[in-house]
């Protein structure tokens, strides 16, 4: 069958083509989309390069929290500090969906106290301390698991059985490799370790050139002049062999059993694992290590009856419920969105909501948006103090630009002439007739006043007749002052007198 006919199976050219469109980022590198949104990744600790995202726009910051591991022995640790003080947290760690715990206050003594993560009642330092403590326990548990796998594997090898590890998580593979090297050395055994995968060679070379993406302990190896992983030395002295496929000629020539093999695929349906399982499933001394997430009954069905030992292990793949509460307290977001499926685990919080697939949510946001005004614009401002209120006010004009997710008001290109036209265009308030008359008289005008009444007898306008120095008529209403005169100078004088009566902006 032609490959392109297989639905959902893109050819390698498609994959490559797709990847050329991907822009790669470092942790904490700001990528600006369209000048409006700043997208930033921060380490989630799950595996090498895995991350959480923050998107900052003019209306706030949204954090996307994916499956995160607080402590990692290969990848950079979970950088929760980068997620602090956001507006919305989109909580998207589904790893605890199947647990029976309830998402509640990690601090048992405080009981069912209504939790509000936006106010920091707990001491921030205490929070961090208990968070670290939880993480430490969890980390030790993970280490114990790896040690257990290692000791089981050593037992198998000692009884001339082979070990098959179809686990896909790179971090686990790298750690197991190191443990096996140590284990074999202490038992003084020479058992070859094979990694059979089309990307094995590239992967092993690559993991040794990315110190920036690894945890502190790994980086310290760089500073002390060691390779980042022991597999570099293991490759050099022939303890570890990498092969692209199980039918590689070289593999067949150096193949020896017992051995330890890492290969895909965890489903036990694809790749070298199928052949090796068939070879070893009847051997009671051999060992298969798989993740607990896989349904072992189903996966092993074609290989039954199995004499081979099977070790199922569950590795941490996200934040535990107990921790996530502490985490949210530390992050102090204004609003949290939980997946609907976590509903039964979550104790209601103050500002939160549930989201589910294909459903639009409206998030109530009270955000004071801020813009920047350049000094060039600011020096052009002419403030007016309003007559009644304690307010200064100025007309503002400029070009509104969007830069790095912030609005900037700067002097536009075609705003050169603005210096000359600072004339007020807006007048607010009402005319106090007496004040106007005094002002006009001060200017040396001779005036008389007449009241204009409507049919109902109500005052509609005041008419001020100016007789000297020239003739003019001023009609004053609540919302308008109308000056009619043939004398340009007189018109100007009157308008000045009127303006002193109003707030001119």
């Amino acid at each position: 069958m032609e490959q392109s006919l297989v639905v959902g199976c893109p050819c390698i050219a498609d994959v490559k083509d797709c990847l050329t469109k991907v822009e790669s980022l470092k942790y904490a590198q700001e990528a600006c989309y369209n000048g409006t949104l700043i997208v930033k990744a921060s380490s989630s600790g799950l595996d090498i390069g895995s991350c959480n995202w923050s998107i900052t726009g003019p209306n706030g910051t949204i954090i996307y929290v994916s499956s995160s591991l607080c402590m990692s022995s290969t990848a950079t640790s979970f950088d929760y500090k980068a997620l602090q003080r956001s507006d919305v947290v989109l909580y998207s760690d589904f790893s605890s969906c199947n647990t029976t715990d309830k998402f509640e206050d990690g601090n048992n003594s405080s009981g069912t106290a209504a939790s509000n993560f936006s106010n920091i009642s707990d001491d921030a330092v205490d929070l961090e301390a208990s968070f670290t403590l939880l993480n430490n326990d969890e980390y030790m548990e993970e280490i114990e698991k790896l040690d257990f796998i290692c000791s089981c594997s050593m037992d198998s090898v000692k009884s001339r059985g082979s070990v098959l590890i179809p686990i896909g998580r790179l971090g686990i593979i790298l750690q197991l490799l190191e443990r096996f090297a140590l284990g074999l050395e202490s038992e003084n055994m020479k058992v070859p370790i094979f990694v059979v995968s089309s990307v094995a060679e590239e992967l092993m070379a690559f993991t040794n050139i990315i110190p920036e993406w690894l945890c502190k302990q790994r980086q310290d190896r760089l500073y002390s002049g060691q390779p980042l992983f022991t597999h570099v030395e293991m490759l050099k002295d022939g303890r570890l062999h990498l092969f692209p496929a199980i039918h590689s000629l070289e593999l067949l020539t150096i193949w020896q059993e017992p051995c330890i093999v890492f290969c895909p695929h965890w489903s036990l349906r694809l790749g070298p694992v199928v052949h090796l399982l068939q070879r070893w499933c009847k051997d009671q001394n051999s060992l298969l290590v798989m993740e607990e997430e896989v349904d072992a009954n189903l996966a092993l069905l074609p290989f039954k009856p199995m004499a081979m030992k099977v070790l199922q292990c569950s590795f941490l793949s996200g934040i535990q419920l107990q921790q996530s509460h502490l985490l949210l307290k530390m992050l102090q977001p204004r609003y949290v969105l939980f997946p609907e499926v976590l509903k039964r685990h979550v104790t209601p919080l103050d500002s939160f909501d549930y989201y589910s697939e294909n459903e639009k949510l409206h998030i109530p946001m009270v955000k004071n948006s801020e813009l920047d005004i350049t000094v060039e614009v600011a020096v052009q401002l002419r403030y007016t103090t309003l007559k009644q209120q304690d307010t200064n006010i100025s007309r503002l004009k400029g070009e509104l630009l969007m830069e790095q997710g912030r609005y900037l008001l700067s002097v536009g290109d075609n705003q050169v002439c603005s210096e000359t036209e600072t004339k007020p265009v807006l007048h607010l308030g009402r005319i106090d007739l007496n004040v106007l008359l005094v002002a006009l008289q001060k200017m040396g005008m001779n005036v008389t006043v007449e009241e204009a009444r409507g049919d109902d007898g109500l005052l509609t306008a005041s008419l001020v007749h100016v007789l000297e120095p020239n003739k003019a008529l001023i009609k004053v209403t609540d919302v308008q002052t109308l000056i009619s005169t043939a004398d340009e100078n007189l018109a100007s004088l009157i308008s000045q007198a009127v303006c002193t009566n109003l707030d001119c902006i």
Binding site: A378, T391, L396, G429
Partner: protein
């Protein structure tokens, strides 16, 4: 608000780079180098100038120290500053610099103490303790040093891990380049930086007036010299520092050896340099794209033809190439080998492009072979070997500096790390050609420049919406150009041009104890409870017009006004004309209250009204109309 730069080193000289910059009150130390030409306290920057009167210690005086790369003239004083002077605050450098700097420092300390017998200013433990305080950063990572200070490293070329540093406090931003190279070389890429809003760029200016051609010719020259020497059975001594140049030259040679199928051994003088190669292998992501692309098949720093050296091999017969530390033949192992090999005419010494005055390397550069070199009063060496000087340097040339400054277009430029007369020339060039203010302060001088500060204001949604509204303007071009058959390929100007110059217009309100807020005019009125009051003018006057004329008065007036004021946008409606707020119509109301003049014969009353904004214009229009004879 201002940016204040205190130059503690590399002011009008090369050596002990160290600039303390205060941006809006935040103080940052860029580089903490030592001067190779001095052996007394002049080798270090004068740190006593740093503390301000109100705080006596360095830790409280500085927000952080940032190191650009691992060369001693940029990092040599750091252990002294942290361990002896007691600076305990944050220190930032890139991953390669953090990995390689201890090697450089330890190598230098050994040469100083163990071989020259000088009193040490810091110990091995000091180096270790100092490096523990360092935070490593990746390129382009935005590091939040504290609430106000952000820094970011950009690729600078020069040496592995060299970085240009962008620092931002509030709205003020600056870049300190450190040493950089604008053209890629055998193992490193060219400097790369984003276009940034900058108040200041502090750039190196080693080659302030030099323009260089392609590097490949000079590389060939180097390879030819080496090949000729070993073909004649000679030994080649390449005194270099352990890191950087050694790897670059070694890549060249290793590649050449492969191509020419040479079997002559290449030696590295100590375990140190071999170890350094391993760092280079891990840090291959920091090299050029070409080197990176091939790392899985063959790591370019996994040298095939390099063997480690044994002391006995100095006198062994046969040709060889030896990399020995330190560079400039200033002492140590390279001097030891030099003493042995210099007397033979067959041999070759490959000197680096730049040697500090006082070193043997510097003497050799100007010497005529054969000659004698005095080591001290009792020792002299007969030099009969060939001397070749490397002419490629990992520094940018003058064009590169100008290109970078032009690209970044900062408001101010400051030159450091160069020679005084050349810097003055470059400074003048930057001022005249780019129109950017430029400074070249000497050591211990301070330069003060203003910094960008924006006024922060809240804004209403209505304001934002109103400024995003299209603001179309329709410009009629004065006359349509006639089609010219010759110029028919030229685009004719359209009769009507449509512009969309969006102008944000609003009101800035300042209330006591509140942040400024930008709102729209309507919002001001509603929020303050004020009503709009219009100030308008009216005037009704007679215009001369013969009633039986075929064209209406308004039409005639319109044509007259267009002729008189071609720049104004006038609209003619059946009953009135409108020019901005100025409206004119024929007044048939005999009792019109705005009339003040007596009717003349053959005249018609025109009633005008306008608002205050168009006061001047209105009177001009009226005077034209009054003189009109229809």
């Amino acid at each position: 608000m201002a940016i204040e730069c205190l130059v503690l080193g590399a002011g009008q000289e090369v050596g002990k780079s160290c600039v303390v910059v205060t941006i809006n009150g935040k103080r940052i130390m860029f580089d903490c180098g030592m001067h190779m030409g001095y052996s007394d306290m002049r080798r270090y920057p004068d740190f006593s100038l740093i503390p301000k009167s109100n705080c006596s210690d360095f830790t409280n005086s500085l927000a952080c120290v940032i190191i650009t790369h691992f060369h001693l003239d940029h990092i040599g004083a750091l252990p002294y500053f942290t361990e002896v002077c007691g600076y305990n605050g944050p220190i930032y450098m890139t991953y390669p610099t953090k990995a390689l700097a201890p090697l450089m420092l330890e190598d230098y300390r050994k040469v100083m103490v163990d071989r020259r017998g000088e009193e040490e200013t810091f110990t091995s433990e000091d180096i270790v303790e100092c490096m523990k305080k360092v935070t490593a950063v990746d390129l382009k990572q935005t590091v939040q040093v504290d609430k106000d200070l952000q820094i970011r490293a950009y690729y600078a070329g020069h040496v592995l891990g060299a970085a240009m540093i962008y620092a931002k406090v509030g709205d003020a931003g600056m870049v300190y380049t450190g040493d950089y190279n604008m053209t890629p070389d055998r193992h490193l890429g060219a400097a790369r930086i984003d276009r940034l809003q900058l108040d200041l760029v502090i750039t190196e200016s080693t080659y302030a007036t030099t323009y260089r051609d392609s590097k490949y010719a000079r590389e060939r020259e180097f390879l030819k010299a080496v090949h000729n020497c070993i073909a004649g059975g000679g030994k080649v001594l390449i005194p270099t520092f352990a890191l950087g140049r050694a790897q670059e030259l070694c890549m060249l040679l290793d590649d050449y050896w492969e191509r020419m199928n040479l079997k002559v051994p290449i030696y590295f003088s100590s375990g140190l340099t071999i170890q350094a190669n391993m760092y280079y292998q891990i840090l291959i992501n920091w090299t050029s794209q070409k080197v990176k692309d091939t790392f899985t098949t063959r790591n370019a720093f996994d040298f095939k033809n390099v063997c480690s050296f044994d002391r006995s091999l100095i006198t062994a017969p046969g040709p060889c190439v030896l990399f020995a530390t330190p560079g400039m033949v200033s002492g140590g192992f390279s001097l030891e080998v030099f003493k042995q090999w210099a007397p033979s005419e067959q041999n070759l010494v490959m000197l680096p492009g730049y040697c500090v005055a006082g070193t043997i390397g510097h003497k050799l550069m100007s010497a005529k072979i054969p000659t004698q070199i005095h080591l001290d009063q009792d020792t002299r060496i007969d030099v009969r070997c060939q001397i070749h000087q490397l002419s490629f340097s990992p520094h940018t040339d003058a064009k590169g500096i100008m290109d970078l400054v032009k690209f970044l277009s900062p408001k101010h430029v400051m030159l450091v790390h160069g020679e005084k007369p050349n810097m003055a020339t470059l400074k003048e060039k930057i001022r005249s050609e780019l129109g950017i203010k430029c400074y070249d302060p000497a050591n211990n001088e301070t330069v003060c420049i203003p910094s960008t500060n924006y006024i922060k204001a809240r804004y209403s949604d209505a304001f934002q919406e109103s400024s995003l509204c299209p603001n179309f303007k329709f410009l009629k071009t004065s006359s349509r150009q006639d089609f010219d058959s010759v110029n028919s390929h030229m685009r004719t100007k359209p009769f009507l041009q449509v512009c969309d110059d969006r102008m944000a217009e609003g009101m800035l309100t300042l209330q006591k104890n509140q942040n400024p807020k930008v709102v729209t005019q309507n919002e001001v009125m509603t929020s303050l409870g004020l009503e709009k009051h219009e100030v308008k003018f009216d005037h009704c006057f007679p215009v001369v017009y013969v009633a039986n004329s075929k064209i209406s008065l308004l039409k005639q007036l319109f044509e007259r006004l267009v002729q008189e004021f071609p720049d104004l946008n006038m609209e003619d409606f059946p009953e009135h004309l409108q020019i901005q707020s100025f409206v004119v119509f024929v007044c048939s109301n005999e009792e019109c209250p705005h009339r003040s003049e007596q009717k003349k014969c053959d005249a018609v009353y025109c009633c005008c009204s306008w608002s205050l904004a168009d006061e001047k214009l209105a009177w001009k229009l009226i005077s034209v109309m009054k003189e009109f004879r229809g």
